[in-house]
């Protein structure tokens, strides 16, 4: 017990210790902000991977670590699309994941925001044209916000999510 407390005291506060984003923030239109306004201060996200290289996943996971601590802004990760306000989709949509993506979208309650995360989700990135890829996310479901980058840094993702929240 003492060991644990000592460790915590020694560590101190690490939240916010990251360099400011250098990339330009993605566009968030007024309609999207309007759509998100009913959610108030919270934003519950379901992350859907439709064929990413897992780089984007790792950065989404990083958002939840104590350094970025997205929870302090009311951003949560939901275990089911039924509990989600927004879907964050990563990766080009593979032929094998196309159905699953559509099912998830159908299962998400309104006003389902869709955020395409990473170059792959925005325009298929390096996998554009492959026989196994059916196109970017917006070919299958309407996309509200696109966050470019391969992968975008957590600070950039966080900035974009905050913008969706209207802050």
């Amino acid at each position: 017990m003492f060991r644990i407390i000592r460790k915590s005291l020694k560590t101190g506060k690490v939240t916010g210790q990251y360099p400011a984003p250098t990339q330009p923030q993605p566009e968030v239109s007024d309609t999207v902000r309007e759509k998100a306004s009913v959610l108030g201060r919270s934003l519950t996200i379901r992350e859907v991977d439709t064929g990413s290289c897992n780089g984007c996943e790792m950065e989404m996971n990083a958002l939840m670590n104590p350094v970025y601590d997205a929870e302090r802004f009311g951003i949560h990760i939901a275990a089911s699309p039924r509990h989600a306000d927004a879907l964050v989709v990563t990766g080009p949509v593979t032929v094998n994941m196309e159905r699953a993506l559509k099912d998830v979208y159908a299962a998400t309650p309104d006003p389902k925001l869709v955020i395409a995360l990473g170059d792959c989700a925005c325009d298929c990135g390096m996998f554009k044209g492959s026989y196994a890829v059916t196109g970017p996310v917006e070919r299958h479901i309407p996309v509200d916000v696109k966050i470019a980058g391969c992968p975008p840094r957590p600070s950039e993702i966080l900035g974009a999510l905050r913008k969706v929240q209207g802050r």
């Binding site: 060991r3 644990i4 460790k7 020694k10 560590t11 690490v14 990251y18 360099p19 992350e47 859907v48 991977d49 439709t50 064929g51 990413s52 290289c53 897992n54 780089g55 984007c56 996943e57 790792m58 950065e59 989404m60 996971n61 990083a62 939840m64 670590n65 104590p66 350094v67 970025y68 990760i77 275990a79 089911s80 699309p81 990766g91 080009p92 593979t94 032929v95 094998n96 994941m97 699953a100 998830v104 990135g125 390096m126 996998f127 044209g129 492959s130 026989y131 196994a132 890829v133 059916t134 391969c150 992968p151 840094r153």
Partner: protein, 529 residues
Amino acid sequence: MVDINEAVRSIQATFGTKIRSADRVREIPVVTAAKQDIPAIASHIHRASDLRGTLSLQWAVDLRPRQAAYRLYYLFTLGRGTWLILMTELSGEDRLFPSITPRIHAAKWYEREIRDMFGLIAEGHPDLRRLVRHEHWPKGTHPLKKDFSWNHLMGRQDGEYHFRQIEGEGVFEVPVGPIHAGIIEPGHFRFSVAGEPIMQLEVRHFWKHRGVEKLFENLMWSEGVALAERVSGDTSFGHSLCYCQAVEALIGVEVPSRAEYLRTFFLELERLHNHIGDVGAICNDAAYALALAHCGRMKERIMQINDSLTGSRFLRGVNVVGGTSVDLSLDGVTMIEHTLKEIQEDFSDLARILFHNASLTDRLETTGVLKERTARDHGVMGVVGRASSIDRDVRRDHPFAAYGHLTFKVPIYRYGDVRARLRVRIDEVHETIGLILQALENLPAGPISTAMSSAPRPGDWALSAVEGWRGEILYFVMAGEEGKVHRCKVRDPSFVIWPAIQFAVLGNIIPDFPLINKSFNLSYAGTDL
């Protein structure tokens, strides 16, 4: 160590004229035989007491347009790290080859993969369901055949995958996935349970199949590095290094020694942040969130270092064919040495907390045991293998980059449970920090890359291995016409280890599955390609 000349002689002595030829390609012996003799020879290599070969990779190449034939390669690792390749050819319209799966378990997925990608059928294979191609892919779609275009527009058909079923009173099935409850990659797990314990697990993957190997064939060999970095994002550096090494061997480029040390340094940095992250995540799946918070913070610190040194948190863009594109400044070296010592102390504090926690230990011990025998039969290596007594590590057995000049220990544990896998990682964190400090201390001066001069001869090939943080990554690159890649076989260790997890979970309860799965922490993207 197995003497390779001795091994080849013994195979020739046993099989006589059945061995058509025994050549060397860049030191690797390649034994050629007719297809009908392959199962007997492969089985001999696998079983003979003086050889004891593990099947490390099996793959096919479509030789068209140069030759209307398919070639099948079987890579065996004898002893710890001696390679031997068995090869056969199917010419003309021949689409059948005898399966070795009934004798060598590790071939199971490879042969299913070859069937899906090339339409070559392994006769006598006990399980010829589709693997990569999900049931909705139209019949006759075999992407790696040369007459299949990379941007082919795929149709859709109806079909259903038949899971293995257990029937009986009180047995029911629990389907999980492809989309899971956390931020994880997609995959499908089908459990059969009676009461609490798992009686059977079937893993159904390849949801993320993006056609990586076909995309390689579209690229010039110098462009493949960026794609290799995107095979499995968390192993960006390991994969790009393995690809670069294969291409460098092909074109005969000598990498400057500073670059060899830098590559070692970056590869260990990648191992470090992944291992630390895994330690936290494993504990978190046993409901010990404190570890996740501390490890998440340390991992983040290292990734920020990656970013400040290279401009990429994933070390992308660092490897180039012929060396590296990023150098370290003297200030950089001092900063890293200082930070790593801090992280080591930080991490040791945490490890002490973990080992003193009895309830955590209770969850980890005896959970998800992968027996040594099962691990051997599947050809498992890497972190998971080392937790089940498989004493293999490419860095020691097949030294690449600067590993031949550095000293480190390879931790081995016997129990094969979640705790053993956690301990391997914890030990390796310390070894890794030691390796980084050694590499920095001995960092030679000089250039960081060599210009490429010659182009590889079409049809020439090279094989390379890298010990990524999960385990042995293998790349086979065959040169094509006009500087293109004719074939690039990518093998992430995950492809080998996934089937083994089906055995490690038996008798455990479903709520422990996430914990077991996390302790393996395999890549879905690297498997699905």
